[in-house]
């Protein structure tokens, strides 16, 4: 096997994890794919150290997380004014019930539960989704999240609480899920 073939096999093992990490943080498929590409290009530069290394998964996840957060901070600092002007209304946490349309509800009944949860997670505002994903999915502590995001511990806790509340509201509107969430 050539080096490239080895690396391709390496990518096949970890591409879902890397892409999933990026997607849940940036909530945009195209941007997540760009970030994933950057992660693997960095991995290729260090492939000698990562090949057959049990810590490769942790390294990839950390790099994917950091690149995603860098992307979000760059995006927000440059364009936040204009992105808020053109913001998709679906990103608004106070937007009205999205699933009251019976046609939508009928379609949603057929969707898998996880797809609905992913969709609701993606619709959360950046400020709530990112710390929520870092805490519940990536398993970081409050202190680690505060350090990564460069904010206070109190803000992290507040944002996570708001994210949980908003997510619960969105999930309760989904037929089939409302009885499971009190």
């Amino acid at each position: 096997m050539t080096e490239a073939q080895h690396f391709e096999a390496f990518m096949k093992n970890y591409q879902n994890m890397v892409y999933g990490t990026a997607l849940r943080l940036v909530a945009n498929g195209a941007e997540a794919e760009d970030i994933s590409q950057e992660v693997f290009l960095k991995a290729f530069e260090r492939f000698d150290q990562l090949r057959d290394n049990p810590r490769a998964a942790g390294w990839l996840k950390t790099v994917a997380t950091n690149l995603s957060l860098n992307h979000l901070s760059r995006y927000r600092s440059r364009w936040s004014f204009f992105s808020e002007l053109f913001a998709n209304r679906e990103d608004d946490e106070d937007s009205g019930p999205e699933f009251e349309d019976p046609r939508v509800a009928n379609v949603l009944e057929q969707r898998e539960r996880s797809v609905c949860v992913e969709d609701a997670l993606r619709r959360l505002p950046h400020g709530q989704r990112v710390p929520l994903v870092l805490y519940h999915i990536e398993g970081l502590s409050y202190e680690e999240i505060a350090s990564k995001l460069g904010v206070s511990l109190g803000k992290v806790k507040t944002d996570i609480f708001r994210g949980r509340t908003t997510l619960k509201k969105k999930l309760q509107l989904i037929p089939g899920l409302e009885e499971q969430l009190s």
Partner: protein, 155 residues
């Protein structure tokens, strides 16, 4: 909401999010990366050994380089003095200074023109012009932002 409710909410959301399955990466990802890697133009950024040096070594290198350049310059100056090249240098310097004087005069004329404009046009017109410039700038940034979003969505 009391502490028990907070804990219950945390547990519910944690359960929902931890149950999420692994997301499948798009089929194009591996191809994109492999094309970059296999492109002869792509080479992982070589880490220059010089860039790994500590600041002390870099500082020492810069200082020694600057010293050598200074010594060389002094040597050339001494050589030039012996053959009388300093007079020629002074002549060239005088020409440069006269060019500088022209530039300075031009700047003075422009400044006086601006002051004349402000006095006669009024602050209101000037402020309106600056506002128009600001609006144009913001419009360009906004248009650029729209183009980027459209391009991302189309991709």
């Amino acid at each position: 909401m009391n502490h028990r409710d907070d804990k219950q909410l945390e547990t519910e959301i944690d359960r929902e999010l931890k149950q999420l399955p692994e997301i499948t990466a798009p089929g194009t990802l591996i191809g994109r990366v492999m094309r970059r890697i296999e492109n002869p133009a792509f080479a992982p950024a070589p880490v220059s050994h010089g860039m790994r040096w500590r600041w002390t070594r870099r500082g020492a290198l810069i200082a020694s380089g600057a010293s050598a350049a200074l010594v060389l310059a002094l040597a050339l100056l001494l050589m030039a003095a012996e053959v009388g090249a300093i007079q020629a240098f002074a002549g060239r310097l005088q020409q440069s200074l006269s060019l500088f004087a022209v530039i300075l005069n031009t700047a003075v004329v422009l400044t006086e023109a601006m002051i004349f404009a402000v006095k006669n046009l009024g602050v209101g017109v000037i402020a309106g012009g600056l506002m128009l410039l600001g609006v144009a700038y913001v419009t360009c940034i906004g248009a650029g932002m729209m183009m980027v979003r459209v391009a991302v969505v189309r991709r």
